[in-house]
């Protein structure tokens, strides 16, 4: 009995001790974190003020014919005091100082343009952040690599272009996404050629990100999208087809028609046919009519859909045949395409609704009701 009581008491004391020690540990940890956070905030404020001053300090005017190095010397004289200040920071704190300084510079880069932004880029090089960021593109944590790519883009550090191009093959999609943005920011739309060449198996997010870039420039992107239709990676080809259809530039008709006729993968051919329908150019009518009467059911279906979207009167005979011979989904899409062709198609639907029986009749009646209702 005594022994049991002793054991219980010992266990209780041990448990209490563990709880107390853990609580104290947590409190100390929290206090240390709060202190670190306050310290970082103070540093951010300090470097915001210092940098605002450095970025806006007047430099003597230089003549237009002067060498670039003259301007850089002036910039260097502005940043030198800050460099000295950093050198005097004790080793263990220097990393935190540099981190906050880099953060301030990146934040400035988001909001500034003109000569002030050029100055900022010079300072980023001069403080050796560019080399650091390029090295971080190889960091084992993907989020560090993604942030490095983003920062290099924001600061338009052209020296990093090769490293960013290599990052297009990074295993993590977020890193690839940031690398795309950075490269386009620095090198403009021409960089799309490189991006498409290096991209492999585009994720949805990469596609979304890249589509934003493409849709901002639309026509300027068209030549690069057409060129990339010959890329080996099918996800890139699908992306380019979608973008060409979305932009709606007619120079895309012929390359898309060729792709729809010759590409080995049916899914790509189907996507190209859909794009032709969306472009709605009359030069693709004959081709679509031919495919609508062809053997491949998937391509046939897509062509009928495209013809329906375009409303092509010369497609009435082939659409009528598909309505009579096709399976139910094909009948429905062919009937709708007929309704879209105008009077001739409407007449065919009325005739078939009167003469046919079963499914064909039901489909015709349904579509006629849709088109009149």
């Amino acid at each position: 009995m005594r022994l049991e009581l002793l054991i219980v008491l010992t266990l209780t004391a041990a448990a209490t001790f563990i709880v107390v020690v853990t609580s104290i540990g947590l409190v100390i940890h929290k206090a240390a974190n709060a202190r670190k956070l306050r310290q970082r905030q103070r540093l951010y404020t300090h470097y915001s003020e210092r940098f605002a001053e450095i970025l806006l300090s007047d430099v003597p005017l230089i003549s237009p014919g002067s060498r670039t190095t003259t301007l850089f010397k002036q910039y260097e004289s502005l940043i030198t005091p800050l460099k000295r200040e950093l050198e005097q920071v004790p080793g263990r704190l220097r990393a935190m100082h540099r981190d906050m300084l880099r953060q301030v510079m990146v934040d400035f880069a988001k909001d500034l343009s003109g000569e002030t932004a050029d100055r900022l880029v010079y300072f980023f090089y001069s403080l050796q952040f560019v080399d650091e960021q390029i090295m971080l593109l190889h960091h084992r944590n993907w989020w560090v690599r993604a942030q490095a790519a983003r920062d290099l883009g924001l600061l338009r550090t052209r020296r990093a272009l090769a490293a960013l191009t290599a990052a297009l093959e990074d295993p993590h999609p977020d890193v690839r996404e940031q690398a795309i943005k950075a490269i386009v920011t620095m090198a403009g739309m021409e960089s799309l050629r490189t991006i498409f060449r290096f991209l492999h198996t585009m994720t949805t997010w990469t596609a979304v990100e890249l589509s934003v870039v493409v849709m901002q420039r639309k026509e300027q992107a068209v030549p690069y999208l057409i060129e990339a239709l010959d890329t080996k990676d099918e996800s890139v080809v699908l992306f380019c087809i979608e973008m060409l259809a979305e932009i709606g530039f007619i120079s895309a008709v012929e390359p898309l028609r060729r792709l729809a006729a010759e590409y080995p993968n049916t899914a790509i051919r189907a996507k190209a046919i859909e794009a032709l329908g969306r472009l709605g150019d009359e030069r693709s009518e004959a081709f679509l009519v031919k495919i609508a009467g062809g053997r491949n059911p998937h391509l046939r279906f897509k062509s009928i859909e495209a013809l329906g979207r375009m409303g092509v009167p010369r497609a009435v005979p082939v659409l009528k045949r598909r309505l009579l011979d096709g399976r139910l989904p094909e009948k429905i899409v062919a009937a709708r395409a007929l309704a879209g062709t105008g009077t001739a198609g409407q007449r065919v639907l009325e005739q078939l609704a009167a003469s046919e029986k079963g499914t064909t009749r039901a489909v015709c009646e349904q579509v006629l009701e849709e088109s009149t209702g």
Partner: protein
Amino acid sequence: MCVSTVSVAPSMESLILIAEDQQHIRKLIEYKLTNSGYAVVAVEDGSQALAKARELKPALILLDIMMPLMTGFEVLSALKQDPATKRIPVLLVTAQSKEEEVLKGLEMGAEDYITKPFSPNELAARVKKVLMRTGG
């Protein structure tokens, strides 16, 4: 609460109120406008901006649209409804490619706008132009 006052030119005609939540850019604008000879008061959110505008009646308000507590639009709307502040010109600071924001702001009575990223020299030029136009 962060309100910083810089009194370089103590004339009330040249007092500019900056409402910007991002510390680094607030510091930069403050520095630029102070160097350009204006008195500057800077605040970090919409409600402080409104309170300071009513209290100080600045010659111009530089108003960021995306701010905590009250957005720039809410501040602008409140300013334009108040007879005491409705004549104060407002220069909006907007994010890039937000055309609808600009149009909305101008319709609500803002005098002009500047889009991020911006050049500090351009900002100072616009401030000067708005003040000349409005007699500030």
